[in-house]
Point group: C2
Chain length 271, copies 2
């Protein structure tokens, strides 16, 4: 399906766009089922938060109507929305009244080996560390060189994801996923106030767990705590949940809480 | 003057370009005088280093011939070269054999108030801190949100540049310049192994100082050391050198070493 720029079919972008020049923008990767964006509210919440933090003027009503129309045409697959600050003046300064540019593109559904969800995955131990930047932490912004470098650390198919630590050695997330641990029945995920992406599926799982009365904890996680975990899994808003069965010399069984949440995630994505 | 993409006149870029998606690329901003790129060797050195570090396959011969041809047509002004990893597969993974895309654009000469170079400038105390990322430090890559945010901290014309510290509070650089101090006749600039951009003018001035027998030091700089400085200046490869006369409550005279190096920088840029 053709891409759209500001609501019009297009396959090209202005060379002056600040998304290209500086990564000055945000994106959302959204599963589409039966013409509808999945977990739409959570994607929009994160996008609004990102626009506020970066002072990007996005016409949210226009964006939303384009997004819904595009999803309807795509019908099934993965939609990517990029929002940039629009064209550049010279240099880093920007016109605070400039209107954001909206770029929509679509792909067929992502296909992963069934074993990832069933038997679980092995995480590659990435040596690329996430830098600490509270001003950008949590956002899905376009400055993603750390993920590009980390993802290039492995090329084998034995590792479906990689685990990233921050510069201080804290366990943060996967390259394209968030990470959860289960310990003594508590669902634990990393605090993302210094770095990392606040994934939409992560937020939804925290919400669902609370609804089910499962205790949750958002905290700093050490590699040592990873050793004590009863269950480990990664998640995102496209594939749902993959149990993690191994990381370096560590291994875990696929546990009951992982399966329970996986069923919930699948139901959301297959709705 | 029209922009070129891969040597052809163009005003638009593929929406799949990884420069847009992830900031997956590098850039150089090069002064052009009499049809020739100024400090060309140093720009090329930094670009080569960046391509090696990011594993970007750039055909340097083709890039150079396009760059020279473009500069000849521009004749006088500022040329911007963006090199991206080309179009994306899905996700962060890239084809290691993919050839880089080359984007050239041109602007008229940058015009700044003459007072910046003569009486010097006041630096804005940016609260945006540079994150520590040794894998990207020194490179002029396309992940520049920190600079965008820092540059938006002031809008008055009283401040011509802003000073950026790193997350640990070390004095690193300006938003679009490198910083030098002079103390007891020694020319001092920040070590950029953790963050910052290794500016082309910075490298040239360090080389020129050595040739003149002026002692140089590349080291970590504290805010306290800034207080003890005899002279302070900022530099880049477009405007040359601006003396710094004030930062917060600190002030400095425009010193003799600053003037000497400024004359050299001007000669290089006006060649």
């Amino acid at each position: 399906m053709d891409s759209w720029v500001d609501g019009q079919p297009a396959d090209a972008l202005s060379l002056k766009d600040r998304g290209l020049a500086y990564g000055d923008g945000l994106f959302e990767t959204i599963a589409v089922q039966g013409g509808l964006p999945v977990l739409l509210d959570r994607h929009l919440q994160r996008l609004v938060k990102g626009c506020q933090r970066l002072a990007i003027n996005l016409d949210h009503d226009v964006m939303l109507s384009e997004l819904l129309a595009y999803a309807r045409e795509l019908d099934e697959g993965v939609l990517k929305l990029i929002v940039t600050r629009g064209d550049s003046l010279r240099g880093y300064a920007f016109d605070p009244s400039a209107q954001a540019r909206r770029i929509l593109s679509g792909n067929p559904p992502a296909v992963y080996p069934a074993a990832h969800a069933e038997q679980g995955v092995r995480l590659f131990p990435c040596t690329t560390r996430l830098s600490i930047q509270p001003l950008l932490a949590g956002l899905k912004h376009l400055n993603r060189l750390e993920q590009v470098i980390a993802r290039a650390e492995w090329r084998d198919t034995e590792h479906a994801e990689g685990l990233m630590l921050d510069q201080a050695g804290r366990v943060i997330e996967g390259v394209f996923s968030n990470l959860f641990l289960v310990r003594d029945g508590v669902l634990i995920t990393a605090d993302l106030k210094r770095c990392g992406v606040e994934g939409v599926m992560r937020a939804e799982l925290l919400f669902q767990a609370k609804s089910l009365g499962i205790p949750t904890q958002i905290t700093d996680i050490t590699l040592e705590q990873l050793q004590w975990a009863d269950e480990v899994f990664v998640c995102n808003s496209v594939y749902g949940i993959w149990p993690v069965h191994a990381y370096a010399a560590l291994s875990w069984p696929v546990g009951p809480l992982t399966r329970k949440l996986q069923t919930i995630a699948r139901a959301l994505l297959d709705a």
